[in-house]
């Protein structure tokens, strides 16, 4: 059942990614057309002024941290499944799983720190 649990959340993460990545695409890549989360439509959605405007919203920062979490889980679990098909010994499989968990947590921490820092900078700059 343990594997079923991980696999089920892998599927759910895929659906969540589909939604959040869709929002990301609508914002960052065709933001000129949609105007979604684009504060200043005179410049590109990726321009610093628009990025700062988005980062100043706590909901947007939380959304990106959430997307980062589900994307890391989905990607690393998929990678683990591929690597486990190499039919490694039981001990090597445990080491591999632990390694991927550590990598995942490390990347998640880094991304979360970046999101919080951007939020703080955006708030500071906005006040300044």
């Amino acid at each position: 059942m343990g594997e079923t649990k991980l696999w089920t959340w892998h599927l759910i993460a895929g659906v969540v990614i589909l939604v959040l990545l869709g929002l990301h695409m609508l914002t960052m890549h065709i933001g000129e057309l949609t105007g979604l989360f684009v504060a200043n439509r005179a410049v590109a959605p990726t321009a610093p002024i628009n990025s700062m405007a988005r980062d100043s919203q706590i909901g947007f920062s939380i959304g990106y941290v959430f997307l980062l979490g589900v994307a890391l889980y989905h990607g690393l679990y998929g990678l683990r499944n591929i690597l486990l098909e190499l039919t490694l010994p039981e001990a090597a499989e445990k080491v591999l799983t632990a390694l991927l968990v550590v990598i995942g947590l490390g990347l998640f921490s880094l991304g979360t720190w970046a999101a919080i820092a951007s939020h703080a900078v955006a708030l500071t700059t906005g006040r300044g």
Partner: protein
């Protein structure tokens, strides 16, 4: 020209291997005069009678029921007794043992790994011990309930699906299509209460999550069973079970003094013609 009413001569390229003598399998050609209606199994009998008395394979019923003669015929896992030579070969036919199994000798695979995996999924109707000790009454199963798993009961455990599975070819620990299909068959049977005991096995890391849905098992099955579908439905059962959404109808026990409800479209029996 082939004689004795033979339509044509076909060269059987048979993979031979005796683990006690040979270091590696090798291909040996045999010429067989083929008549209309001859199956690959008949061709093998011809070879054994006229060319090579040491050729080994497994067979029993000769009519696609027992599942003993599963082998690789022209690269496709299927039953030798169920394959007409003239349907699959013009002048050349390759025959080997089922892949993904150890070889006992020549065309006889060692199916014990499949049988052990099959046993691990509890391939029988699981009921409470107290009930087994007091078997009063019977369990009602409607035609609709039977229909949900009927096709999976046609499995004859020939191993063709296991031989065709590319996932099993890369990882022999994977349970494979036959045991997983049978796990679905028993989990879905409304008389069975063993799905919670099967979940740790089929939901483990060598269970359904390993299936890539190549679909080769369903293509190979000589009985028309669709194990790939069973595996996908089993995945659905596992996810539903994880979220507590299992809606399996409890079995309806009927004692000797109870009567089932007759369906409305079933007419009354005709009157007796002979008095009891």
């Amino acid at each position: 020209m082939p004689g004795n009413g033979a339509v044509r001569e076909v060269t059987f390229h048979v993979r031979k291997f005796d683990p006690t003598k040979d270091s590696a399998p090798y291909i040996q050609p045999f010429t067989v005069p083929v008549k209309l209606g001859m199956t690959v199994l008949d061709g093998l009998h011809y070879i054994k009678e006229y060319h090579d008395q040491t050729l080994a394979w497994r067979y029993s019923c000769r009519m696609g029921v027992c599942g003993s003669c599963g082998m690789l015929i022209n690269g496709r896992p299927t039953l030798a007794c169920n394959t007409q030579i003239l349907d699959v070969a013009s002048s050349r036919l390759t025959i080997g043992p089922l892949p993904n199994f150890a070889i006992v000798r020549d065309l006889a695979p060692d199916l014990s790994s499949m049988i052990e995996k099959h046993q691990s999924i509890l391939p029988f109707i699981v009921r409470a011990e107290a009930e087994l000790n007091d078997p009063a009454g019977e369990y009602f199963q409607s035609p609709h309930q039977l229909e949900e798993f009927l096709q999976f009961t046609f499995c004859i455990k020939c191993g063709c699906c296991m031989g065709a599975c590319p996932t099993l070819a890369t990882d022999l620990r994977y349970l494979g299509p036959m045991p997983l299909g049978q796990a679905y068959r028993y989990n879905t049977d409304n008389r069975d209460d063993g799905s919670q005991q099967r979940i740790p096995v089929v939901g483990g890391k060598v269970g359904v999550v390993r299936c890539h849905y190549a679909g080769e098992c369903s293509r190979a099955c000589p009985k028309g069973v669709d194990p790939a579908r069973a595996i996908q439905l089993l995945k659905r059962q596992l996810v539903s079970s994880y979220f507590g959404l299992v809606a399996k109808q409890p079995s309806q026990k009927q004692g000797p003094n109870t009567k089932g409800t007759r369906l409305p479209d079933i007419p009354d029996a005709p009157p007796r013609t002979v008095k009891p």
